[in-house]
Amino acid sequence: MRDKDRTDDKERAVEGGPPRMSPDEARRRRGRNIAIAVVLGLLVILFYAMTIARLGENVMNRPM
């Protein structure tokens, strides 16, 4: 890491901001973010499917 980057990171830390990330760190964070989005999406589908499966035929049985 260059001296200027170190100084920038210290300044950011003092200001309360996030430190500068290397391209590799940024790539890994993007990967984690995508994974979390995919997992949340799959959980929505899973809970929907579980609800329908639990309700079974009663899902169509609505009193008029």
Partner: protein, 324 residues
């Protein structure tokens, strides 16, 4: 309890020290998946599926899939908590030094939070998808592996993997409980097979990796009782395992193909355990232990795969009705 609070305080100190340098996680998605011990998870899914398939009764495919997923995630969560606790000894063992926590890619606190979140989530999903008895059983299994085995037995007694092996043997019973809401003799027999299989499997590895375990201070049987006593115990457990492998036939959920597979591979296990017992020196001893370790994996896989295939293909049981 003091030990756990000490470890939590240590994790907190590391997090505080780490926060001064890095405020973002450094782990990749692959590192988080590695925390879940995917190979152990696949074995758990496989054995739990067999437990579900042999259980009398019907389960909705969607709810069955959700239950299996919850059991898998629960197993992964306990593996994650195991890695959090054991990071110090993982760092000094060649087999485990590259794991995400000792390698510095994931902070201990992140692994702890990840493990607890997945534990709670998996138990809740299993409860909603199947029943709360199965969910409670999964919660107990996670507790047994993460606390009883990892935090207590592993560093305290050479019987660590014998008693702790119960955690790895519970999944077929959880699978059965997810379908029926209770546990029967069938599930108990599958439990017994994995329980009796664990000592020969792990002690064969421990004979080869005794130096690693000694460096890490883990009291595995070869380090405490010596290699020869370990070899005798491997033989003893294998002699119990081979007939236990045939119990599904007597209980009526294993058919003719299973009887043949369990009989032949059971004899193979006994033959390899005998070789481990007889070859005690040099390269031959190492090779014998490695062969038993490798074959034990194939043995368990073949037993459960045959049960699964027989149920899926609808082959009749050899002694249908016996013991039921």
């Amino acid at each position: 309890m003091a030990m756990i609070s000490d470890r939590l305080a240590e994790t907190g100190r590391r997090e505080a020290a780490g926060a001064a340098q890095v405020s973002v996680s450094g782990g990749s998605v692959g590192d988080y998946i590695a925390l879940l011990k995917p190979r152990v998870m696949s074995l758990v899914v496989f054995t739990a599926l067999v437990g579900m398939v042999i259980a009398p009764g019907h389960v909705n495919p969607v709810l069955g899939f959700a239950s299996l997923l919850a059991i898998a995630i629960g197993a992964g969560a306990s593996g994650c908590l195991n890695m959090w606790w054991d990071a110090d000894i993982d760092a000094v063992m060649t087999r485990t030094a590259r794991r995400p926590i000792p390698a510095g890619r994931i902070a201990p606190g992140e692994a702890l939070a990840f493990g607890i979140t997945l534990s709670v989530g998996s138990v809740l999903v299993l409860g909603l998808a199947s029943n709360w008895f199965a969910a409670a059983f999964l919660a107990f299994t996670i507790f047994f592996y993460a606390v009883v085995y990892t935090m207590w037995l592993k560093r305290a007694t050479p019987q660590n993997i014998v008693i702790g092996g119960a955690a790895g043997a519970f999944p077929p019973m959880i699978g059965e409980a997810a379908v029926t809401g209770h546990v029967s003799l069938d599930g108990l027999v599958l439990f017994a097979i994995i329980f009796l299989w664990t000592p020969p499997h792990f002690w064969a590895l421990a004979l080869v990796k005794a130096g690693d375990y000694a460096r890490a201070g883990v009291p595995m049987m070869p380090n405490v009782a010596g290699p020869d006593a370990t070899r005798r115990q491997i033989m003893l457990y294998t002699l119990l395992l081979a007939p236990a492998g045939l119990a599904p036939v007597a209980l009526g959920f294993g058919g003719a193909i299973y009887a043949t597979v369990a009989g032949v591979t059971g004899l193979g296990m006994v033959a390899l355990a005998w070789r481990v017992l007889r070859r005690r020196e040099g390269e031959a001893a190492v090779k014998a232990a490695q062969q038993l370790f490798a074959f034990s994996i194939l043995y368990l896989f073949l037993l459960f795969a045959t049960l699964l295939a027989e149920q899926a293909l609808g082959f009749g049981s050899l002694f249908a009705g016996w013991g039921r």
